[in-house]
């Protein structure tokens, strides 16, 4: 920045140029915002609820031919739309609700799992989307329509010896598959030792030198996989095996001066990472004591090992070794404890401060990701879509409740950016379903 340090200005690299273009677009919006009168500002910050509902509901009833490329993702479309509507505190008409249950039932495979559309093969990601949609709809009919026994069989067939899961028969193995399997199994109360076995090893092998988590061992740390990996590790009670201080450091650095999150180091800001990265920080906010423990351990491992010949063993492996012991202690009583992790996560909630910049992120979502005509998007210049609408709103909800005493206690007006009517429903951050619907589902499935 300082002219004195620049001898000759090399031409900017692709990363720099792309970054500067986006920065200038975003700052233009913030600049405009700062110059307009307060009443115009609060108008600009207003969540266009009716417009969003209109856009979302329309997609539920009709999609143009361009959506053919999502023909193997239709349960995802259901989830993105119905979850976004639920976040906005609305419900869909009874007939649409029935039609959704009926449609997803046609995607359900007789041998377990949900497919991307009727007549397709079952797939773990669309299973996650279908189950989350049915939980969001709620009610006995929707919840009872899930064939848990068959679904469990499907998940066992997808389970790999290395601990990971395949997305579908002969499909790819990655951290997404692990999360979608574990999340579904957890919320449906069918998580057991067989499904959990070695999955922690697989996810651990995907944490990179940067601190974040990649899709496969060796790949680059990425927001989507980081959320998936961390949430899955929490759900199986093995989060303490990850290097959490490095994970936290990586993820908080993904929030940039554009105020939103990027997916990877030196990539561009994108509204959907409001949930993937914001969600990962929100989860870490609940793991503070474990992070502290790991930090203390790391600082002590040095002071203890002043003798040079000792240094490798103690600094290199000590933290790893202790977490392993701790984990083995837990895993003895695993089955019963693990089944309640999702619920305990909510019940053991304590008031704390967010570790990311919640207000800034809300600003990005409302001013840069929101389309005034309805729907939300990646960034200015991009077009709205259902995926980004879902994940921008999910991220916004996380921000609004990030200071709350209880996961669902109404936040103070000052922490909700824009008019208080912007307030969304709270979510369960491990599953990304509206909290109240999670509770209903948990009760339903724990009684089965």
């Amino acid at each position: 920045m300082e002219p004195s340090s620049v001898v000759e200005t090399p031409s900017p690299t692709v990363s720099q140029r792309d970054q500067w273009i986006v920065e200038s677009q975003v700052f233009q919006i913030y600049q405009l915002f700062s110059t307009i009168p307060p009443n115009a500002q609060s108008l600009m910050l207003e969540l266009q609820r009716d417009k969003h509902i209109e856009y979302l509901s329309k997609g539920l009833r009709h999609l143009g031919s361009a959506f053919s490329v999502l023909d193997a993702n239709r349960p995802w479309l259901c989830y993105w739309i119905i979850h976004a509507i639920a976040l906005l505190g609305e419900t869909i008409d009874d007939d649409l609700e029935d039609n959704t249950v009926d449609f997803l039932n046609r995607c359900q495979d007789p041998n377990g799992g949900f497919a991307g559309g009727p007549g397709q093969m079952p797939h773990l990601a669309t299973t996650y989307a279908s189950v989350n949609t049915l939980i969001t709809l709620g009610g006995d009919k929707a919840l009872a329509s899930i064939n848990r026994d068959k679904l469990y069989g499907f998940m066992r067939r997808m389970k790999q010896p290395n601990g990971g899961f395949r997305m579908h028969d002969e499909g790819e193995i990655d951290v997404r598959a692990c999360y979608t399997a574990i999340s579904v199994a957890s919320v449906l109360n069918i998580l057991d030792d067989e499904l959990i076995k070695n999955v922690g090893d697989f996810i651990l092998s995907c944490q990179t030198y940067e601190g974040g988590i990649a899709g496969e061992p060796g790949s680059e740390a990425h927001g989507g996989y980081t959320f998936c990996g961390l949430a899955a590790m929490i759900l199986i009670g093995e989060a303490n095996r990850l290097d959490l201080p490095r994970l936290l450091d990586w993820v908080v650095f993904r929030q940039g001066k554009e105020c939103g999150f990027q997916g990877r180091t030196n990539k561009l800001v994108d509204g959907c990472y409001s949930f993937w990265q914001g969600g990962a920080v929100a989860l870490l906010q609940r793991l503070q004591s474990v992070i502290e423990e790991q930090m203390v351990e790391a600082s002590q491992s040095f002071t203890k090992s002043d003798a040079p010949d000792e240094k490798e063993s103690s600094a290199g492996t000590s933290s790893h070794a202790t977490s392993r012991i701790r984990r083995e202690g837990i895993s003895e009583s695993c089955s019963s404890d693990v089944k309640n992790i999702g619920l305990n996560f909510i019940n053991e909630w304590r008031e704390s401060e967010p570790l990311f910049h919640s207000i800034a992120l809300q600003q990005y979502i409302l001013l840069c990701a929101q389309e005034q005509e309805g729907g939300l998007r990646d960034k200015p210049g991009k077009r709205r879509d259902h995926y980004h609408s879902c994940y921008c709103l999910s991220g916004l909800s996380l921000c609004q409740y990030s200071w709350s005493k209880r996961p669902d206690s109404p936040p103070l007006p000052k922490v909700v950016m824009g008019p208080y009517s912007n307030l969304l429903e709270p979510i369960h951050p491990l599953f990304n379903v509206v909290l109240e619907r999670y509770r209903e589902a948990h009760e339903f499935f724990s009684g089965l």
Partner: protein, 333 residues
């Protein structure tokens, strides 16, 4: 003929008019009377999928089924069921997989950002074995020349290296990409992959010294580049003591701090070092002192606290994180 994408021109003959399909009864999608998220399929899309269902449900392992999967993929490359069926067709019909590779390449040229294309490509390469090595490395190189951070392309390339080999030139390739764009974090990640896993380089211990030099040079040229700082830290993964004791690390921090510009990562790195037990000397204290702004910072004898306070100021987007770090500093020695 197998594996050819039909021309997208208007002279496409509908399947129902093609004599070779006359014996097949298409199966419409079981969408129900009132489907949600209904897609207004084009006539062509519906017809192709209706015929696809007919052959798929009948498990018809024929060459006409194979060309039909190509049509279906050209309409929606994200349909994993179609790809899956295509693989069983390729196997049972013993199709030349070199031809299949070209097919994947054509599909990828339209849109390469879906899981199915890459999963399929991996399957083909696995079947072809060693002979596929160069073509796969070239293919990913081509994709990466257009989008140097393409996640799937990098994953595929790593799989090729690990399964089929070809490591010899990979470090050079990373250097080339980083010379073009030092901010390309994917190239840094690949570099880490190579130095830690290449069978020719002796692993991270053998590479550390030269990599530290390379990285420090990159940091000095662009101290605002987070990628190089994270890479530097990565070179000491699970070696905290080595990290803290290596004067090259602390020196580069000091050097950047003294320039008083773009010092965010130098400062946060120094904080990490101190948290791990590093004892900064007077030079560091002076450099930190010089960064303090007079306005509102509390006087503090603890250098780690001072660093956190500066970070709160100069890195306001992470203010909560720095406040939190400040409240969790290890007991000063």
């Amino acid at each position: 003929m197998a594996g050819k994408i039909e021309d997208e021109s208007n002279d496409r003959v509908p399947l129902r008019l093609r004599p070779e399909w006359s014996d097949v009864t298409p199966i419409p999608q079981n969408n129900g009377p009132n489907p949600v998220v209904p897609i207004n399929y084009s006539e062509e899309f519906s017809e192709v999928m209706d015929y696809f269902r007919a052959v798929y449900f009948a498990n018809e392992l024929s060459s006409r089924a194979l060309s039909l999967t190509a049509e279906a993929i050209s309409l929606n490359a994200g349909n994993y069921t179609v790809w899956h069926f295509r693989r069983s067709l390729l196997e049972s019909l013993k199709v030349d997989l070199h031809v299949e590779r070209e097919f994947v390449e054509r599909v990828a040229s339209g849109n390469s950002k879906n899981y199915q294309i890459w999963h399929h490509r991996r399957w083909v390469a696995e079947k072809l074995g060693l002979e596929a090595r160069n073509s796969e490395l070239e293919f990913t190189k081509k994709i990466l020349s257009i989008d140097a951070k393409h996640y799937h392309a990098w994953s595929h390339r790593q799989w090729v290296l690990q399964t089929l080999g070809g490591w010899e030139d990979e470090l050079n390739y990373c250097s080339e990409l980083l010379a073009e764009d030092i901010f390309n974090n994917s190239a840094w990640n690949q570099r880490y992959f190579v130095i830690t896993r290449s069978p020719f380089l002796g692993g991270i211990k053998a590479m550390r010294e030269s990599e530290v030099l390379y990285t420090i040079e990159a940091i000095i040229s662009y101290p605002e580049n987070e990628s190089s700082w994270r890479y530097l830290r990565g070179l000491y993964k699970d070696e905290a003591t080595l990290y803290v004791n290596d004067t090259q690390v602390s020196s580069v921090c000091l050097k950047i701090l003294r320039t008083k510009s773009n010092y965010l990562f130098a400062l946060s790195t120094l904080l990490d070092l101190i948290c791990l037990g590093y004892q900064p000397n007077e030079d560091f204290r002076d450099a930190i002192e010089a960064l303090r702004t007079s306005d509102n910072e509390e006087q503090d004898s603890d250098i780690a606290r001072t660093i956190c306070s500066i970070l709160e100021q100069v890195d306001p987007i992470r203010v909560n994180y720095w406040v939190w770090r400040k409240s969790r500093l290890p007991q000063a020695a």
